[in-house]
Symmetry: C3
């Protein structure tokens, strides 16, 4: 609806509880960037490097913090958290298209599955025996929901998502294409002859409300208990979450992270891309792990942790890396020198 | 069947060749954990930290090593390898549901494909020309088996697995959702103008018996010869195996590992999560690679290898990393000091 | 056609503009390796370690550089770039099977989608409203092309590829199974209470011509603008490309690489497996990043960059890593020693 006539700054301010600076009757129909959008658009600024654009932008209105408000030549919404307000305004102006309720004739739904009448099940979906699909759920094309699985109200599986047996997904979750929830954990017992015996993976996966799961991310089912993803967790693409991992509420994890079996991550953590968390490690609430960091033992203090050495011109890096391989000896040599110096220092003083 | 009346410890001991301690007539119906399960369950203990639970657990029976047997207050099966026995007991008590044989009417099967009558082909599967599907094979929903591919007896493709042309999968394999077997290898020849010419990937993938392949793992076809995964190999999720790689029997590889083209891994190796193996590298039998390790040259001695620095509070790590970038100079300075000290030491002695 | 009678060296030389050494009437029907192929095959050699095989190989003909021509006992095509010529000859001798044009009856195509009559749409494909599928396009089994998306002429989506709304793919692209193009970027604004608000991802993905995208690779749509992959880019498997990334023409990226939001990579770059590029980083043209390298700041000079320490026997590595954690203090101690030595040196000279 907003695409036609737009919405005024005054209406936005009332809806979201913020202040207007300038003409509250200005209407906007879409969001855009300060640099490229036109007068139909509303933009925001948070990074200091973009603040000067406030003086030259052609957008219809801006969202700014109180500190930057005086810089704006355009009508403005003023809020302490411009990024969050921008997200809300963008969701209002650009709502997700609603799918038609109903089960497509080319979907395969088991007779014992319970599908709410408001749910939309696309062609090529498979819903197994006893599965439950809640109110306003969207299963996009090619999703597989195996027997006994549950998809909570208003959750959306975009396309080609696999939800294995008995996995439970909460309300208002978004799962992107290719994600696999509830495949067997990687559990094998070593035999005496060096072969492996599969340990049946009998647990499941429980996913809370308001969780978002990225494309091709995999979350394994537990061996005995469940793998647990609490409310509000945000997972990027190509993440691996092993069996019996527990991720606390509102933790955000960037792409390509691997979390090994039975690791436990606290609430409100942030984990950078490509980081690895070893099995059985415990990480407390409020921890930030920088990208590509290896966490091989538990972290009990909130804070920021890293083990990432940044790139360097390769021939120089290679020389440094070669020295690293002897760092222990090097340290011992240094200690030896210190000892000697202290000794000769004493001798000097004694001499 | 065991779900109803269960099975007695005596029967388990006879079937698996182990000893009973205590009442051999005790019956169990399921497996569970020492901490949480009830008297219907049998649990095991291997990690020392859980041994004290043997004295308080309410489970019906336990599986323990001879060393821990005296600690158990419950009837027990005694075996040198409790984890392996647990895996066998779990598989007995919790068998995988058998799928109905037959080809679902919503599966697309080429007329020249050979499907064994005992196989189960779910809705949404595609089986190409000349493909062969063996006895008791299960193709779950949405699997694609392209022309000329072979799936060996009793193998199970859980759902949405892609098996490209001419790929051969052995017997009793399990392939988890989203895995892609036999996509083109990453082969390009550089042109004089800096563009790339695709090198046709004409080989295939051969997978042995009893191999397990995790969700969204990718195994590329060979450029000329084949990519080979020997018997009993276990691959976790999101692993990349490039063209012409060879992986020896019973090697286990954790999630997010990448193995570059033509690398060769021995038998009975273990590779930790996120490790990377460079192209053309050879790794001998019996090697363990720790998580996140970079293997850039061949390994010819069995043993354990690492290149992973663990996480540290970020500001301290950053200072150390900054020093690392000058480690070569630092080492030279130390050598200089040593030289000087030796020299002045000699002078002292000479003085 | 070449499979029957083959093609002569003379014809190949004329077609590809290179020289023949020896009998130009020799016919070959396929490509192979110097070591294993027979007289029906043509092979090439580029790596020095394989040059000696030129003297013993049984292949019908070889492709060699001028420098190696005299080593060949077999008829030869001579070219400064044997690998590139081999790629062209292989493509000629082993053409990709052409798919039947037309829309399979088990494909779901929206009535407003525009499908060129020469395109091949396999069973299980979904093509959404207003999508456009160009000339000679192949959509293999189970592909999803959402509304408003465009697939350019002669592009091939092998199987189970997901192309989200409004994503544009150029001509002659190849996209391997499981790839996801245009899922939502990972954009969340932090709320005051530590929860996250989803930022609608309103941009899209634009992919140039002649791009190849590996299995299970994910390319996210932009937040406002588009994620851009220029012409001739080659992406291996399991790569993550975040929202608003820009990748310059003819850059090649190996498997398991992660590129964070708004990073910009130049043209003709090469990025090794498992490397990570931080958000907003800019990398200029002609940069090579070695495998597993962390790029956390911009690179403005062409060259080769690394941050990868190679594997070492684990107990030795652990000792070195432990010292690393004190490298800053260690460096300071060394500086102290130097100062002291210089001081005592001066004293000596003064004494």
């Amino acid at each position: 609806m907003f695409r036609q006539e737009g919405i005024s700054l005054g209406e936005l301010a009332e809806r979201f509880g913020c202040k207007v600076q300038g003409d509250a009757s200005v209407r906007v129909t879409r969001v855009g960037t300060l640099a490229a959008a036109d007068e139909q658009a509303i933009a925001f600024v948070a990074r200091p490097k973009y603040v000067p654009l406030l003086e030259t932008t052609r957008v219809g209105a801006v969202i700014v913090s109180p500190a930057n408000a005086s810089r704006s030549a355009r009508p403005a919404l003023i809020t302490p958290n411009p990024h969050a307000l921008f997200a809300r305004v963008a969701a209002l102006l650009h709502p997700v298209d609603r799918e038609e309720p109903g089960i497509h004739e080319a979907a395969i739904v088991h007779e014992t599955a319970q599908i709410d009448g408001s749910a939309s099940i696309a062609a090529g979906c498979h819903v197994g025996a006893g599965a439950r699909i809640g109110r306003d759920v969207v299963l996009g094309p090619g999703c597989v929901v195996m027997k006994g699985a549950v998809v909570g109200d208003a959750s959306r599986l975009v396309a080609r998502v696999t939800v294995c047996e008995r996995v439970r997904i909460g309300a208002r979750c978004i799962v992107h294409p290719g994600a696999v929830l509830g495949a067997d954990g990687f559990g094998f017992a070593p035999n005496e002859d060096g072969t492996w015996i599969k340990v049946p993976q009998l647990g499941s996966v429980r996913i809370g409300d308001d969780v978002e799961i990225g494309a091709n991310t995999t979350i394994d089912r537990g061996a005995l208990g469940d793998t647990i993803i609490e409310d509000g967790v945000k997972l990027d693409n190509l993440i691996q979450i092993a069996h019996n991992v527990h991720i606390g509420a509102h933790t955000a994890i960037a792409a390509c992270v691997g979390i090994a079996g039975s690791a436990s991550i606290g609430k409100h953590c942030m984990i950078g891309g490509h980081a690895g968390i070893a099995d059985h490690v415990e990480i407390c609430d409020g921890v930030t792990i920088l990208a590509m960091t290896a966490v091989s033992s538990s972290i009990r203090e909130p804070g920021t942790y890293s083990s990432t050495i940044g790139a360097q011109e390769a021939s120089r890096f290679r020389r440094n890396a070669a020295r690293f391989r002897h760092l222990d000896e090097l340290t011992k040599e240094l200690r030896q020198l210190e000892k000697h110096q202290n000794h000769s220092g004493r001798e000097d003083r004694a001499g």
